[in-house]
């Protein structure tokens, strides 16, 4: 091992050039604590040095945007004094190292990002991706991640109301664990991550600081994963949902009583971030005394204190006359607190430890002067080959294909997962897991918040730009089926190694695709997260952007459409431009032919807008609306049958139209003659009734088989 001989900055994960920049900035050799701070703040995870230039492409403005990207969470206006805060975050690498705690601390972190804004977190979503379940290691990871999300989310008391699951060999060495949180607040409670004017006092709230997670941002999340990662294990953090619950309530009380000037959570980069960012944003300096920090371990050094990622901590910036009140609130909620600093004029972050000044740097430089990389990009040659290869036809009987699809763990019932999550707390979950979008009511108003999150690594592998755009359209359609109009998007960009030009190209294309779709729908991106270095032993994951979309239904439909409301004699209509038969990137292509080739149908912004508008109106009138996505029309109808406990007769039996996943399509189910649909955009495809699902002349599946296959897809695999 040569590590001992390496200079400190390299051991901290900094390049020589980055070290030079620090020298240039400070005009002297940095002290160890200073170098520690720069190393974590300038890590990929915290500084977005490879992605920042591209993220500027996102449209971020709309009249209803209250806070756009750059703060802890995006905030939009819902009318009548109500605001919503939304944020998504990844915890991929920590979840691979320790699935339970990795996922749990991911939930803890995303909650803090939302209640930092003054909002009460009201719902969580998880987007999780693993290798195939026939590998015991993948089962272990899947089980651990789901238990971790359940263990933390349930105990902290925020319902997990939806999410998505995908399985693909590309995630075997690198599972993806994204979590998203929605909060609501009254306008006057909005709180920003700012340090306030000179004289403001910094109060550290929550759990004692230990050595946990030191270098988590720079080491775990900002570098590739290999056998050396084993040695990085001491950075595992352990979540404490109980502490976080108390912290949420204490902070919300402080906001309500107007006790704080600003708040910043301590996530990646810990104290380094929670001191420099708020000071930088406010254009002030900060004097910090590390001896005041309440600690859980003895003899921690200044760099350790500054880099620790101990969980469940918040930094409150408090006007001096309100400090006693803040400490009182903390005491009442039985959380620890410590006055650790004071805001100063001049912009210098000055840190003392055991009577010595251990750091004295321009506060804003830690965030603003981070390196910015314009990494080379190259369109991979294999894309054209993939596009040129025609997809194999789907052999076999369509009824058979349908059963194989329903037995697929990514398409079958998610009950094994979502029944482990409390998804009903707060009595607002009108539509919960197992449908398209979730619908959360705001009690005391007519409003419903509809949220959907969508990702599709296989589609984005074939065409990162069109695939990413389609995610936005799909999410928009998912919220439209609950009667909501799209308001804003957050994104989580999970990609491979950005030092590879092909990965950087995929990244740029994906940002472009998301931006184009958002522009077509006139909705802004209000926040997101980038996770690079998702590769194992040199193999990158599929480009896997995940889009979270917030919609507002105002008023919310009195009887929102549900998959379970189909009844004997109702007609099944498909809405969207047709006919469709492209199977590139579809679930059927994967399940039947085990291949990933072809060029998926690109989105059609005009058709998307039309279908979304039509669906939006129908949501107030029809009993069932369901978007056609994974598994195509056949699976969409089957899901309605299963949820409603009734059969159907579908007139289609060509595999193309049955299993294609072409965009902008929904099915509507309603009593004959109750709804008139435009002929150019809709066609009847079947009727509800009987106790089996009949696909044209191709065969029929009895309801019981349909239901059992769908229900057992995950449990039968997890049983080993």
């Amino acid at each position: 091992m040569t590590t001992a001989a390496q200079p400190l900055h390299r051991r901290l994960g900094m390049t020589d050039e980055e070290h030079e920049s620090v020298l240039g900035l400070l005009r002297r050799d940095p002290l160890p604590a200073e170098l520690a701070m720069y190393s974590v703040m300038w890590s990929e995870h915290c500084s977005y040095k490879s992605s920042r230039a591209h993220l500027r492409r996102f449209p971020t403005e709309a009249p209803w945007v209250v806070v756009g990207p750059g703060e802890n969470a995006g905030v939009v206006d819902l009318g009548d004094g109500w605001l919503a805060a939304l944020r998504i975050e990844s915890h991929n690498h920590p979840s691979f190292v320790e699935p339970y705690q990795g996922a749990a601390t991911g939930v803890g972190g995303i909650l803090r990002d939302v209640f930092t804004m003054g909002a009460r977190p009201i719902a969580l979503w998880d987007q999780i991706r693993f290798g195939p379940l026939d590998d015991p290691k993948n089962r272990y990871l899947f089980n651990g991640v789901v238990s971790g999300i359940a263990g933390y989310g349930n105990a902290v008391g925020v319902p997990t109301v939806g999410g998505e699951i995908e399985f693909d060999p590309c995630y075997t060495g690198n599972p993806l664990v994204n979590v998203m949180c929605l909060g609501v607040l009254r306008r006057e409670q909005l709180t920003l991550g700012t340090a306030g004017p000179p004289g403001t006092v910094a109060v550290l709230l929550g759990r004692a600081t230990g050595r946990d997670g030191i270098g988590g941002a720079s080491v775990l999340a900002s570098a590739s994963f290999d056998d050396e990662s084993q040695e990085k294990r001491p950075s595992v953090q352990v979540g404490d949902p109980f502490e976080e619950k108390k912290l949420i309530e204490a902070c919300l009380e402080m906001y309500q009583r107007g006790l704080v000037a600003g708040v910043q959570d301590l996530g990646a980069a810990g104290l380094s971030c929670a001191t420099s960012e708020p000071a930088g944003r406010a254009g002030v300096g900060l004097d910090v005394d590390l001896d005041q920090v309440h600690v859980r371990e003895m003899d921690m050094t200044a760099p350790e204190l500054l880099m620790s990622e101990s969980q469940e901590r918040m930094m409150a910036f408090v006007p001096s006359e309100k400090v006693d009140a803040v400490l009182g609130v903390a005491e009442r909620w039985e959380i620890d607190s410590a006055v650790v600093g004071t805001v100063t004029t001049g912009g210098t972050l000055k840190v003392r430890h055991q009577g010595e000044v251990v750091a004295e740097v321009p506060a804003a430089s830690l965030a603003d002067d981070a390196p910015l990389y314009d990494r080379p990009m190259r369109r991979p040659d294999w894309i054209d080959d993939l596009w040129a290869t025609p997809a194999l036809p789907l052999g076999g009987d369509p009824a058979d294909v349908l059963l194989r699809l329903l037995d697929d763990p990514a398409i079958g019932s998610t009950a094994w997962v979502h029944e482990q999550y409390d998804h009903m707390l707060f009595l607002n979950t009108v539509i919960g897991p197992g449908s398209d979008g979730s619908l959360i009511r705001i009690r005391g108003t007519e409003k419903g918040l509809a949220v959907s999150s969508d990702g599709n690594g296989r589609l984005c592998h074939l065409d990162p730009r069109a695939g990413s755009a389609r995610l936005v359209y799909e999410a928009a359609l998912n919220v439209a089926v609950t009667g909501a109009r799209p308001l804003a998007v957050v994104d989580n960009l999970n990609f491979g190694n950005p030092e590879k030009p092909e990965v950087m190209w995929q990244f740029r294309e994906s940002v472009e695709g998301i931006s184009e779709a958002c522009e077509a729908l006139a909705i802004p991106v209000i926040g997101g997260n980038v996770s690079f270095y998702n590769e194992t032993e040199g193999v990158d994951i599929h480009p896997t952007p995940v889009v979270g979309l917030l919609g507002l239904a105002d008023p919310m439909p009195r009887q929102p459409p549900r998959l379970s409301r189909a009844a004997e004699g109702m007609e099944i209509w498909e809405i969207g431009t047709g006919p469709t038969s492209n199977l590139a990137g579809s679930a059927a292509q994967r399940v039947v032919n085990d291949e990933l080739i072809g060029r998926p149908t690109p989105p059609d912004p005009g058709a998307a807008r039309q279908v979304i508008a039509l669906t939006n109106g129908l949501a107030h009138r029809v009993p069932v609306l369901h978007d056609v996505s994974d598994g195509g029309l056949a699976v969409a109808v089957a899901e309605v049958c299963i949820a409603s406990g009734i059969g159907a007769r579908v007139a289609v039996d060509d595999p193309g139209p049955l299993f294609s996943e072409d965009p902008h399509r929904v099915i509507a189910v309603f009593d004959p003659g109750t709804v008139v649909l435009p002929i150019d955009l809709a066609r009847q495809v079947g009727v509800i009734g009987g106790d089996s699902l009949i696909l044209g002349r191709s065969g029929s599946i009895d309801l019981e088989t349909l239901t059992r296959t769908h229900r057992d897809a995950i449990p039968r695999r997890m049983a080993g």
């Binding site: 320790e98 946990d212 352990v238 979540g239 502490e243 859980r296 101990s310």
Partner: protein
């Protein structure tokens, strides 16, 4: 043979449960309690007569399922 496995959380890993119990004991007036940590003991009965063999097998079980190597250490004790 009877085997006892003690699974202990690694010292550097935070132990929120211990912290909470300690607080509760203080609330109950037991201020003399300086620290608390909660671990697991697993008692196994294994059908085999060779203590060395049993130990080796149980150690393997620990690595496979009983302990979480990222967070925990284990100690195996074979009796009778």
């Amino acid at each position: 043979m009877k085997v006892t496995v003690e699974i202990t959380r690694r010292p550097e890993i935070a132990d929120p449960q211990g912290t909470t119990i300690q607080r509760a004991l203080h609330d109950l007036g037991h201020n003399e309690v300086m620290s608390v940590r909660v671990d697991r003991v697993i008692h196994l009965e294994v059908q085999d007569d060779d203590p060395n063999d049993v130990r080796a097998r149980v150690e393997e079980m620990c690595r496979q399922v009983l302990a979480n190597p990222v967070l925990e250490d284990f100690a195996v004790e074979v009796s009778e």
